[in-house]
Symmetry: C2
Subunit: 144 residues, 2 copies
DNA sequence: CGTAATACATCAGGTGCTGATATAGTTGGT
DNA sequence: ACCAACTATATCAGCACCTGATGTATTACG
């Protein structure tokens, strides 16, 4: 790939990120809240300190977030029987719904834009799907 | 494009958004601050109410943001001579630098990931660049 | 000329982040 | 079994950043 096209590609991806994240910001869950719910959905119950590491925020931020998520019913908190200092945080059904809802609205935004493309453009994107998937893989600190 | 591939594509794009925006969150400028600086860079001096519309935040939020940006030297504020109620906000050289710096770090993140792909994958992406660019166009409410 | 509309500032209140510190529970050396 | 060190979480002060309600200055209009 030539240099100018790398520049166009990164700019297009940057712009896409801007469009989607601005939209997502108006829909209830903060970025960290969505990431935390997603981590809980994938990993099962976690300690606050695990979530702190996964989401790369400070421990007080995660404690506060988990408390707010519990207040709105999206997670539950129970004392870890194997270590009474620790709190086990688990996603609830309402939490899974909120996460699915967020994904649906992001997908709807992207799908609406895909719908405006010509068949040729869609075909080019189709052939690039594997590359795009690889672009986000090998993130141990996983996406939402 | 078949249905499952639309699903994979939207998920890949969602994940990409998550990765890039999490990274960007740790680098100084808030999403709205970056969008505002970008708008000022493209449009030239704007009123607070113009920026409020462009960034889709409430007017008090924009007034506060502009005040903080002025305090850190990224924008200047002058009274509009044609309407003394209004404030004209303009980006400064420092503001342009901050914006360029943010774009550089986002580009670096994306470029690092591109570097891990095989030539075949890169080629597929290269052919999809035009489609990706179109995907973000026709946004009057422009990206950062 | 006075009322309505406009542009912005300000205030109260909530989220969400940081660094510093407190509290409770666990662990390891004696 | 004890106590010092360590660990997990909670709490606090402080700032960024958002909203809705309200205040103030200026402009526009009948």
């Amino acid at each position: 790939m030539q240099q100018p096209d790398v520049a166009r590609l990164t700019q297009a991806l940057r712009d896409l990120v801007a469009v989607v994240s601005r939209d997502s910001a108006t829909r209830g869950l903060s970025r960290t809240a969505a990431g935390t719910l997603s981590a809980l959905d994938r990993h099962g119950p976690c300690r606050v300190s695990d979530l702190t590491r996964l989401e790369a925020v400070g421990q007080p931020a995660m404690t506060g977030l988990v408390q707010r998520l519990e207040a709105t019913g999206l997670v539950s908190r129970t004392s870890d029987p194997s270590d009474r200092r620790a709190t086990l945080v688990a996603i609830t059904d309402a939490g899974r719904s909120a996460l699915a809802e967020r994904r649906r609205s992001q997908d709807a935004l992207i799908a609406a834009r895909l719908g405006r493309l010509s068949p040729d453009r869609l075909d080019a994107l189709d052939r690039a799907v594997d590359a795009l998937v690889e672009l986000t893989q090998e993130d141990h600190d996983q996406p939402h």
